[in-house]
Amino acid sequence: MLNILKKELKDSFRDQRTLLLTVLLPLVLMSGLVFFNENLLSPYEEDVYEVAVQDAQYPLVQKLLADNENLHISAVDNVKETIEEGNAVAGIVIPADFEEKMAAGATPSVQILNDLNSQNSTLATSAIEASFMQYSQRIVTEQLAAQSIDTAILTPFTLEQVQIVEGDLTIIMLAFLIPLMLTLSVGLGLSTSAADLIAGEKERRTMEALLMTPVNHRSLLVAKWLTMVIIASMTGIITLTIVFVEIHFFTETLKAGISFGSNALPIALVSVSVIISYSAILASALMVTSIFAKTIKEAQTYSTPITMLTLLPSMLMYNVGINELTFTHFAVPVMNIFAVFKELFFGIVNIEHILTAITSNLLVALIIFIIGRVLFFRVKWVLAK
């Protein structure tokens, strides 16, 4: 069996598609993910947004928003057109007699023109709103003071949020996106090899030559399955390594958000174990599709929806908080990848949860493997017509 395994690994890794999907694809996918999130989660104080205002109102707006360093005010002829042409991300339309009306006790209206499809426009709108709210509070405070009323009347009580679970938006995002990309990478990395290992043998008619040797079917199948598990696990481990190397060396916000400290080694070991157990399920499933298929193309047609199906649990897990995770989340195969990684990203290493997840995955992998074994022992499924 070892000879078959060695040959299968050599053959698979000489295939450029395997190298492309196990190394290059995770590199591209994960780099995109890391740098996109770094950009998304970085403090936006450094960004300056272009805001348009009509020529006549420029001095007034400039005065009101002078303290906000994230906004750059430009005087233009037509605010709406300027935004539509992409020369500003938001605009302000303010009455010429804004201050006079307020002084007279009227309530003048200020319009913020924006494009909510644009993240920059949304952030600029928030910054404009914050400045106007600040200005509004200052006016109210001054008016109350003028009437000798204590400004404390405005705050009859205070409302405070206390975060009981450590972690911020960075961790929440990564705890969702990394397992998602991981399952996708492992699926894509394995699909080509899995199709080639059995359906490919049938298509090339090398399967007949193999079955004609005294080697037994079981050894042959186990060796092929192990090859698939190794390729899938390697893809997963490479994927995670790329993520953590890039976060450590090329990011600031993400690096600050993720700090495993002394838990780093156990978390790494748990991650590898979970990846291997997930690889075992996927290898069994794609092995069965490869046995069913007569050609590589047919096997890949079957493997694509299976790979996509593994992404489904991520949707179910997105809104589940760390303290809401139950036994079911760890017992359901594939879903448990998301549950375990969520805990790991929050620095939790719960042995019971981890063992439940790994055992459940290996059990399902075994059941699917047995189905594959039954099929593989039937001539109909292993010989080309």
Binding site: N3, I4, K7, K10, D11, R14, D15, R204, R205, T206, E208, A209, L210, L211, M212, T213, P214, V215, N216, V379, L383
Partner: protein, 249 residues
């Protein structure tokens, strides 16, 4: 050497059964070269696959060197070399040597024995120059030589060739024919299926004609010529099939 007794093979296709072989009986003696003649779909490949243990007869028995192909498949496999098609059973991303070494390990040949056998076959087929090159870049002729080398790597007593020259050019076909002559001189028992009548005439001691799963003739070429009053094997083959059509319709 090979005893085929009343072999019938049926395949289930959806809800109906298709009979690929009907009560075929045939004895093949040691050191004999026998040609299986028949049209495409006549049952030649099914018969060879059954001898090769890949298919289990629906009824009847096949014995190879005294071993039953169902109950003693492993013993049968050790004694057989099989080539289905002209150049199959090779891995493109491995070198010719790696392909041969892989199959040698599956036949449990030792390292030294493997090296000796590969060297001998490389010399025999003139493969030394490309033995360490990947098979993916080989011509049809080169691939065929490696495939044949793989088939006889473990020095089997019995060799099955299923349409070995299909799709090959004249030079490659000649290489194959020379090999069969050489194997015959070494005392190997060879069965090969073909629909090329001239090839069978050139290589075989006996022929077996299969038509719609039934054995319509089995015997020496001389006997066949005598019975049919002609030495034109192509003509004999066609007239046998035509008679078979009427007889078994």
């Amino acid at each position: 050497m090979i005893t085929i007794h009343e072999v019938t093979k049926q395949f289930k296709d959806k809800k109906k059964y298709i009979t690929a072989l009907k009560h075929v009986s045939l004895n093949i003696h040691e050191g004999e070269v026998i040609g299986l003649l028949g049209e495409n779909g006549a049952g030649k490949t099914t018969l060879l696959r059954s001898i090769a243990t890949l298919l289990e007869p629906s009824s009847g028995t096949i014995e190879v060197a005294g071993f039953n192909t169902v109950q003693e498949a492993e013993d049968v496999k050790k004694r057989l070399g099989v080539l289905f098609g002209s150049e199959t059973g090779l891995y493109d991303r491995l070198t010719a040597r790696e392909n041969l070494e892989y199959f040698a390990s599956l036949y449990k040949l030792g390292k030294h024995e493997t090296k000796v056998r590969i060297d001998k076959l490389a010399k025999m087929f003139g493969m030394r120059d490309y033995l360490d090159r990947r098979v993916g870049g080989f011509s049809k002729g080169m691939r065929q030589k490696v495939a044949i080398a793989r088939t006889i790597l473990h020095d089997p007593d019995i060799i099955l060739f299923d349409e070995p020259t299909t799709g090959l050019d004249i030079t490659s076909s000649n290489v194959f024919r020379q090999l069969v002559h050489q194997l015959k001189r070494e005392g190997k028992t060879i069965i090969f299926s073909s629909h090329i009548v001239e090839e069978v005439k050139m290589l075989c001691d006996r022929v077996a004609m299969i038509h719609q799963g039934e054995l319509v003739y089995e015997g020496t070429l001389e006997k066949l010529y005598e019975e049919e009053g002609s030495t034109d094997l192509n003509y004999i083959f066609m007239s046998k099939l035509a008679r078979g059509e009427n007889e078994y319709a």
